[in-house]
Symmetry: C2
């Protein structure tokens, strides 16, 4: 039986790392992809900023353009793939594409985290699809799983390592004892971190991803500014060493938990038991734990970034659109069913805490500190006090579970003790089982 293969034209906006990945995957796996999609996929246009940039990729010059309108008004193009990143001009381009009845696939976490609701509404109105699997955890099909596979569950919590750059840095610090600054430089040299690393090391990237997963899992549109965020910039090798002594490993975690009708959402460096699977996720890998009330605990582990893993997710989305049929749209869920859900304030969240002080080396310091803690309903789980010095010595402890508000009050008072030189660090501990 001879099959006359249908053809479909797509356009890429952007030809950076991810764009090249998509180009290469469509070429290398052409036979399989054509069979699975039921379409022969042709990249008909690629929008770039600079036509003359050397891209080290074998692409037909005639399809490269610097003019978005050439893409937008090309009626032969059915799917537009946005891999520029950043908010502008991606936002404007995606809106125009949807309004011109193009299906859109994007890998842009900032765009989806901040404008997803609006874009989904527009896609639904226009009867086209908007897919964004690559926006969270690169090649790991976490979005598809939550949307399509875990539908029988009430999701109770999601906890994950969602940023590969910071995980690389923390892994290097943990395994090789490097300082934050040295590990960051290594990450930059390897291309894992950008020249301005703020979005990664400051926890913003992890925050966008958490925001996207939360909207899918809990059906809630949460204001990004309401989510607590703390980066890894102030993590010191000494804290990593103390963590090891307590049996913990430090990871940048993104977390959302539903607790009595409110959402607890936060992104911050966290000490977790070194025996927990998440503690053993190293290098630039990502891993996401999902807890559902039927499925129990699930974990996904894989490459959260990179040309081919991210490209894998984008091309998977393109194939999904083609399988659904170009004249069908998948009605994306609008996040309007949890208007009364609140994001808990950090004061009201509960955690265990690792606190490192530098204190005067004299008797009675621990007693003074623990009195203050006791007055604020904080009890100490474990203490390490070491060394002798004419100057200051470290006093390190981990508390039992308590409200963050109690910790803040304690810290405010401890700071004022004459025997205390400085609060050197405060890191939350999650005693994951």
């Amino acid at each position: 039986m001879e099959v006359i293969m249908k053809k479909v034209k797509i356009a890429l906006l952007g030809l950076g790392t991810v764009g090249k990945g998509i180009f290469n995957i469509l070429k290398t796996n052409n036979e399989e992809i054509t069979k699975r999609a039921g379409y022969d996929i042709e990249i008909a246009k690629i929008l770039v900023r600079d036509k003359n940039k050397n891209r080290d990729i074998d692409v037909d010059e005639n399809i490269i353009t610097t003019n978005f309108e050439e893409v937008l008004y090309d009626e032969s193009i059915d799917i537009i793939v946005e891999v520029i990143g950043g908010l502008q001009p991606a936002y404007e381009y995606v809106i125009s594409a949807l309004k011109n009845k193009k299906h859109v696939v994007t890998a842009n976490k900032l765009l989806i985290a901040s404008k997803g609701d609006e874009l989904i509404s527009i896609a639904n109105e226009e009867g086209v699809s908007l897919y964004y699997e690559a926006s969270v955890a690169g090649g790991i099909p976490i979005i598809h799983s939550i949307k399509e596979s875990l539908t029988a569950n009430k999701i109770e919590e999601i906890i994950g390592i969602m940023n590969g750059t910071t995980n690389y840095i923390l892994s290097k610090m943990t395994e090789e004892g490097l300082s934050y600054e040295t590990a960051l430089k290594e990450a930059q040299a390897k291309g894992y971190a950008e020249a301005d690393p703020t979005s990664d090391v400051g926890g913003y990237d992890a925050l966008y991803k958490l925001r996207i997963l939360t909207s899918l899992a809990f059906g809630c549109s949460v204001d990004i500014d309401k989510i607590y965020r703390e980066g890894i910039e102030s993590i010191k090798p000494i804290d990593i060493d103390y963590a090891k002594e307590f049996g913990f490993t430090i990871k940048l975690l993104s977390m959302v938990k539903e607790k009595s009708g409110a959402l607890e959402m936060r992104v911050h460096p966290t000490m977790i038991p070194s025996t927990h699977p998440l503690a053993n996720v190293n290098d630039s890998f990502n891993a996401i734990f999902v807890k559902g009330n039927a499925v129990g605990e699930l974990m996904y582990y894989g490459r959260g970034a990179g040309e081919l893993p991210t490209g894998s997710a984008v091309v998977g989305d393109i194939i999904s659109i083609l399988r659904n049929g170009l004249n069908n749209s998948i009605i994306a869920k609008k996040e309007d069913d949890c208007s009364n859900i609140e994001v808990s304030s950090m004061e009201k969240t509960k955690s265990e805490y690792y606190i490192r002080l530098s204190v005067k080396d004299e008797p009675g310091v621990l007693s003074k500190v623990s009195t203050i803690l006791g007055e604020n309903d904080v009890s100490i789980f474990s203490v390490i006090q070491k060394g002798k010095s004419k100057e200051f010595v470290p006093l390190v402890f981990v508390t039992h579970k308590t409200y963050e508000g109690n910790i803040k009050k304690s810290i405010d008072s401890i700071k004022k003790l004459p025997v205390v030189n400085k609060i050197e660090s405060l890191i939350r501990v999650e005693n994951l089982k």
Copy 2:
């Protein structure tokens, strides 16, 4: 806006562990499921063998029947869920259901592994859907991921812990030093192993699951009898101890790898590096590694069995069918595009090997053994020789990578050495990175 919710009737065949899980999930998560499916799902009939059995579940007696035809010819029922297990009568029931234009969801790995091709053909002919997410790894959405998310990839290999019972037994043996027999009894007491545990401990269950994933990932229909299978019955605590000394952990792995156009498929106890994520999958958890040429390495981890995790997968499938629309069928892929692919014979597969001999305690034994190995192109990577005895002492070694054929020839000759008492064990080693 008032929404008049559509209703759909389904039937369960079987009300054992999984059946109860489905019943409970539909009840507990009714609100979320109705919203996501777009249908109010009603269990209209439940087929059981014995109506009078005490089931410890609050189900309307009027919907319980022992007569399959009452289900089959009830035109108000659109979806039939098969959770009886075993080949007969499940096979007959599913065929009848499909031929009567019912969509079918099944959790039956034996059925899909041995009759999947035929059932898929019938479903396609009849224009109905056949879903079976729960048949592999319980709640882990591995089938959906391979079918829908990793479509941009050529899958290169799948390696997994696909049976929770054997993983529980091996974990207990590893952590607590239990014998196989004692650990099995514990597993039976906990309900993890059946009275006749053969299907689990003999590796059959893991084999069915491997067969199902292979057909999806490689598009190949493989004869079950061609897949090498070995259970965990002969694993001894002493081998687990030696494994630890070599830095390995023993797991029952199911593996498929594509190598130069042939498939290497096998299920057997395997030593893997204790630092590998799969080595840290304990208790009754399952975990599956997938390697794609774009996405790289992905791992899925979760509960591979149990009432609610398996129910989660089944109900997820029901929701998928409803979302696709009851008048649509998802054309399942027939496995006809790899008729020329071969399953490699074990002789031609390559591995490292752990071999434990009991030998006479006299000089020159290692030299005699290693001479034979050398003649068969096998070289030793590491040796442990311990203890003194008038009788026999263990001689334990791990080889470098070699063909299984070479190992077999070596073993045949080593067996005949007068200084060798017995080949105590031979376990394959996979040096997973």
